[in-house]
């Protein structure tokens, strides 16, 4: 299926949850409302024409204009098509619904997004820091991140 057809079947089912799309990019993407992410994900995985059963990657992005985003790269092993989903949220209200019940791999990826960007993943079974130490302060991959002076009494920048 082409990106246009995927967008249309999504719009047909979810209408208002589809906020934006850019189909002429090298890898077309569709923007979904962050709190409806899980329902869209279930549909994408289970619908027989779409069958996106393989989530290639889940990344966080800081767009440097007050927005944070979570980008999902999906692939269908059955139909061999790809799609990119994006969920934008603001720095004041950084919440995105978890898709870890849809694709098991999202569990650790979402933990990493929380760790690096501070985006709170709602309904995640075990949301805690993954790569940084558990009592680290701050979210390192944000564009406005300042490296702390001290961590537990040790000087950080050297």
């Amino acid at each position: 299926m082409t990106a246009q057809e995927i967008l249309e079947s999504l719009k047909a089912k979810f209408g208002d949850a589809i906020l934006d799309a850019k189909l002429e990019a090298m890898q077309p993407w569709i923007s979904i409302a962050p709190d409806r992410m899980k329902d869209v994900a279930f549909f994408l995985r289970d619908d027989s024409f779409l069958q996106f059963d393989y989530m290639m990657c889940l990344s966080g992005v800081d767009y440097n204009d007050g927005r944070l985003g979570v980008v999902y790269h999906l692939f269908s092993m059955v139909h061999r098509h790809k799609i990119v989903l994006k969920a934008f949220c603001t720095k004041e209200n950084p919440h995105v619904r978890s898709v870890s019940s849809v694709w098991g791999t999202a569990n650790w990826h979402e933990r990493e997004v929380f760790d690096m960007y501070g985006i709170i993943i709602d309904e995640h079974p075990d949301l805690r820091r993954l790569l940084m130490p558990d009592d680290w302060e701050g979210h390192p991959l944000r564009k406005d991140y300042k490296v702390p002076e001290f961590y537990n009494g040790m000087k950080v920048p050297y």
Binding site: A25, M55, M56, W108, I120, L130, L131, P133
Partner: protein, 395 residues
């Protein structure tokens, strides 16, 4: 710091209030054992918190992040895309060429560069040599986990020959900075083709010797058959890739199914696990898939050496690497699975965002699900069969 809503369920803070990650309160006869971060067999700094009932595992909670080196933050501060390549090397330090290949592929697709044939063929040769070297480490250390100390040294003997081939070409044995955006840093030296052919003829009987010593040994088979079975649907749902996926019976290889470089011009086929000694997707299958992939790689190298065209490997290297604003996700088949790079460019010469999707990171997340009900001795083998490299997991 933003407050989290849910308490960490498996993080042991108060021993008297321990809860296992499935939510039940612990019975009094379960023990929590800590394996790592320093341990002879966790293949790096990985900490596994194991909840055991006697010798049977109830739950495994991996803790990673001990080797986190802020690859993504560094990439955003480099002055150009070329400077990120040495950092990519160090993601999976056992298979550095394949890391570079993935990143360079992503940037070249963004720039829409047309590469000379010679560059593509050399890249395939190097990638397959690196695949053999990486699998040799994997099967060698796996033998040590099972208690057989000798195959490890046989594997490293052969790996030395491959590393000297690399040293001949680009001067480095382990971390190369060899693939550049649009070409290569050095062309092949004149004696490379003969030495590589020599290596291929030498290596084929060595695989058979290794198999006789370890793979088909009765004790080894008994240790690894029917252990750590990864079912097909779980594998796809957890986005496993590489030998883990193929061992579960799924005929999927990115070199054929999401093609890049010149793999479509070479005759080869991916190796699938068939459950010959036990169940499909058990630890033995992953091991034999790696052994057979090495044989397949030798075939690819021989064909690529025969078909190597002439040309200038630095002809297509752009003077200034400045992709248009946009983003791309590109993936290649590394020895451990699918390594993907998601690169966002903002039109300047510096990458805006580089995310490395590491296969070992994703494959490791399935470890708790495949090791429940196994014994501790099995857990060591299961973790070894996932073939993780912590550099990749933590980035």
């Amino acid at each position: 710091m933003i407050e989290t809503k849910t308490l960490p369920t498996a993080y042991v803070t108060d021993p008297r209030a321990m809860r296992s990650s499935s939510g039940k309160t612990l019975r009094t006869d379960e023990m929590i054992i800590n394996m790592g971060p320093q341990h002879p067999s966790t293949h790096g700094v990985l900490r596994l918190e194991i909840v055991v009932d006697g010798e049977i595992i109830v739950d495994v909670i991996p803790h990673i992040g001990y080797l986190h080196r802020c690859f993504e933050k560094h990439a955003e501060h480099m002055t150009n895309y070329q400077q990120v390549i040495p950092y990519c090397d160090r993601l999976d330090y056992c298979a550095a060429i394949n890391d570079e290949h993935s990143y360079v592929l992503a940037v070249e697709r963004m720039l829409k560069i047309e590469l000379p044939e010679r560059v593509e063929y050399i890249r395939v040769i190097m990638a397959e040599l690196q695949r053999i070297a990486s699998h040799l480490i994997a099967v060698g250390t796996f033998g040590i986990d099972a208690g057989a100390f000798t195959p490890f040294l046989y594997a490293f003997h052969d790996r030395e020959l491959i590393l000297s081939l690399f040293e001949m070409t680009c001067g480095a044995r382990l971390l190369y900075n060899y693939f550049w955006i649009g070409g290569l840093s050095h062309d092949l030296p004149p004696q490379f083709v003969d030495k590589a052919k020599e290596f291929c003829t030498y290596f084929k009987p060595r695989i058979k010797e290794f198999n006789d010593l370890l793979t088909f040994n009765e004790i080894f088979v008994k240790r690894t058959a029917n252990v750590g079975v990864l079912p097909k649907d779980v594998a796809i749902n957890y986005a496993c890739s590489g030998p883990m996926l193929r061992a579960s019976g799924i005929n999927w290889d990115l070199r054929r199914d999401d093609p890049y470089s010149v793999y479509h011009k070479i005759e080869w086929e991916p190796k699938i696990g068939k459950g010959e000694m036990g169940t499909v997707g058990d630890v033995w299958d992953r091991h034999i898939v790696r052994m057979r992939e090495m044989e397949e790689s030798v075939k690819i190298i021989e064909q690529a050496l025969a078909a190597l065209p002439a040309g200038n490997v630095q002809a297509a290297i752009p003077k200034r690497i400045r992709p248009d604003a946009g983003e791309i996700y590109a993936r290649t088949e590394t020895p451990r699975g699918e390594l993907g790079f998601y690169i966002i460019s903002d039109g300047s010469g510096t990458p805006y965002r580089v995310k490395g999707r590491a296969p070992a990171f994703v494959n490791l997340s399935v470890l708790p699900d495949i090791s429940r009900g196994a014994m501790i001795a099995d857990l060591v083998l299961i973790a070894g069969s996932v073939d993780i490299v912590l550099g990749q997991v933590d980035r």
